[in-house]
Symmetry: C2
Subunit: 300 residues, 2 copies
DNA sequence: AGAGGTTACGGGCAGCGTAAGGATC
DNA sequence: GATCCTTACGCTGCCCGTAACCTCT
C-alpha cells in the first residue's frame, strides 16, 4: 500500500455507495475504479465491499479501513497545508455562482484564484440559488456563491456581499421621473428572477403590500436575458443595479422610483461543505471575501 | 503527492544523511533516489535539502515535512496492522543470527515465518554477536538473535533460550571417561568461539580459575568448522551440546568431564530497534519466542 | 431491459537501472 | 582525487480507457 489515490478511491466508493458514482466523482472510468479496489483488496488480502447490494455495502474490514483511510487523507491534507507552496496545489475546484456575481465578483475572483493557485482547474456552473444549494449538498460542486446559505450542520456559509434591488425600464416606455405607484406599472410584466429563488419570493412579499391588480411576474434563470427584454421595452425590470450599470450609463435603461414598494437587499453568501478535502474551497472562499471587500472597478 | 514511497524515501534520506545511504537502505539505485526527491520538491514547490553538505542538511520546510511524513508513515503502519491480513504483508526482513541458532531455532523459524508471512523476503546474515549488534544499530539488519542484548535505550532485547556448554573431543584422543583437570587437556588447543564474543570472554574467565599453563584458545566465527576440527582429533572443543548432537550420537565425538572448570550457560536474546516500521521485526520476534518455547525436534 | 460491476486488450507514460557528467570537500 | 549528486537514455511494467460481457433487480 503505497498509493494514496487508491485509498481516496476507496473512500469515495464507500461514501457514494457505488463504483460508478465514484468514477464520476473522480473523473475517471468505472473499470479504473474496479481495478483500484481490486488491487487494494488483493494487497490487503481482505474483501472490502459486499458486491451486488445497492448502495454497495462495506464489510467489517472495509468499515475499519474507511476510518483509517479518512484519517490518512486528513493527515496528508494537513501536511500539504504545512509545507506545500500554494502554486503547486493541484486538483479541480467546481464552483457554482448566481448570475449576479458573474457580473460583479467573478472576473476578479478568477484572476485571483489563477494567480494564487495556477495549477488548479476551475469548473464553473451558473445557476439559481436552489439548484446550486442542491448541487453543493449532492457533492456535484465544491463551493457555491449564491443568494442564500446552507444549514450550519451541513456546511459553512459566510456572508459575502449584498446589493440593493432597483427598478429599471427603457426610456421608450415614457414613464415619468417622479415617484410612481406599483399599480401604474402593471401594464407591463415585471421582469425579474426565476421563480423558486429567494429573491423572487422576497419580491412577491414586497409587492403584496401594494395594491396592484393584474401584476405579472416573469422569471428567468438568466437575469441578463431579462435586462435585454427591459431594454427593448417589453417590460419593467427589478434587479441589482450592478447588473445594468452599462445600460444605465448608456441611457438604454433608466431608473424608476416606486413609492409604495420597499425592495429588499439581496445578500450573497459563499458556502462549502466541511470535508477533509475542502481545503481548496476554503481557500477560494477566502479570496472571494477579499474581492467582495473591494469596491467594484469601473467598467472597461 | 499521492505516493507514500516518495515520502518514505524522503524520510530515509533525512535519517541517513544522504541519497546514497538511502538508496542502499531502500534497495535501489542512487539516481532513483535523486529522481524521487526531485519529484517531491517539484510537487511541493519547495526545496527540502541543502545539497553539498555532508551529512545532507534539511531546509526549514524539509524539517516540517519530515515531522509530518513520519506521522503519515506511522498512520499507514497502524492502518495495515488493523486491516491487512498477515499473508499479504510485503517487505524484506533482514535477520542476523548467531551460528548456534542456525542449528536450533532457524529451520523451524524460517518455516513459521514463511507460513505466516508468505509474501515477505527473508535476508539472512550469520555472524558473531558483536558484529550482529553493530549491524543492528547501524540499521543494516532489522532483527538480531544473538548471545547478548542491546542497551534498553537503543531497542528491545528479550531472552529467547539458553544452552549449556560442554566439552567434546574425538575418541581417538584416548581421553578417559572419568573427571579430568584442565591441565590435562593443554596438549591440545581448545576449539571454541571467536575472540571478541561474550562466550569467548566467559570461557577465559572460567579457565582462569583453573591452573593450566600453555592453554591455547582457538577461535572461529564458524563454530561448525571447529566441530569438524574436533572430530578429526585436532583439539578439544567447548560448545553447545545442541551443535554436536549428531556427532555425539554417531560416536565421532564424545563428551568429557572437566572437574575444575565450571562452564557458563550461553543465553540468547532476540533484539530489534523500536522504529515505526519495525512491525515485521516484532512479528518475527514473536515467532522466535514460540519456536524457542518448543522442545528441539529429533534430528532427521 | 437497464443499471452496475467485471473482464479483455491495446497504448501511453512514469519510474527504473546503466552509464557518463559535474560539483564539492 | 574521492565521494556524492545530477543528467541522459533506453527499457520495462503499470495503469488507463475502450468495448464487450456478465449479473443482479
Amino acid at each position: 500500500m503505497r498509493d494514496l489515490r487508491t485509498l481516496e478511491t476507496f473512500v469515495w466508493v464507500a461514501r457514494l455507495g457505488g463504483f460508478r458514482a465514484a468514477s464520476a466523482r473522480l473523473n475517471t472510468t468505472q473499470p479504473a475504479i474496479s481495478a483500484r479496489i481490486d488491487q487494494l483488496e488483493r494487497d490487503l488480502g481482505v474483501t472490502l465491499f459486499h458486491r451486488g447490494q445497492r448502495p454497495i455495502g462495506l464489510t467489517p474490514e472495509g468499515a475499519v479501513l474507511l476510518d483509517h483511510a479518512e484519517q490518512m487523507l486528513e493527515k496528508r491534507a494537513e501536511m500539504l497545508r504545512a509545507v506545500a507552496s500554494p502554486a503547486t496545489m493541484r486538483g479541480t475546484l467546481r464552483m457554482g455562482l448566481s448570475e449576479t456575481l458573474v457580473h460583479t465578483l467573478l472576473p476578479r475572483l478568477v484572476e485571483r484564484i489563477g494567480a494564487a493557485y495556477p495549477a488548479i482547474v476551475l469548473d464553473m456552473v451558473v445557476d439559481i440559488t436552489p439548484t446550486l444549494r442542491a448541487g453543493l449538498l449532492a457533492g456535484q460542486i465544491d463551493i457555491a456563491m449564491m443568494a442564500g446559505t446552507v444549514e450550519p450542520g451541513q456546511g459553512v456559509s459566510e456572508p459575502l456581499c449584498d446589493y440593493p434591488l432597483c427598478w429599471v425600464a427603457s426610456p421608450r416606455l415614457g414613464l415619468p421621473e417622479g415617484p410612481l405607484r406599483l399599480a401604474e406599472l402593471t401594464r407591463w410584466p415585471i421582469l425579474s428572477f426565476s421563480h423558486g429563488t429567494n429573491v423572487s419570493a422576497d419580491l412577491r412579499r414586497a409587492f403584496a403590500a401594494a395594491p396592484a391588480p393584474g401584476l405579472r411576474l416573469w422569471g428567468s434563470a438568466s437575469i441578463t436575458a431579462m435586462a435585454r427584454l427591459a431594454e427593448q421595452g417589453i417590460g419593467v425590470s427589478v434587479m441589482q443595479e450592478v447588473l445594468v450599470r452599462r445600460e444605465l450609463a448608456a441611457g438604454t435603461l433608466r431608473p424608476l422610483t416606486v413609492a409604495d414598494v420597499t425592495l429588499p437587499r439581496v445578500g450573497f453568501h459563499v458556502a462549502y461543505l466541511r470535508r477533509p478535502d475542502s481545503h481548496l474551497a476554503a481557500a477560494a472562499a477566502r479570496l472571494a471575501h477579499e474581492v467582495a471587500g473591494e469596491p467594484l472597478p469601473d467598467e472597461g
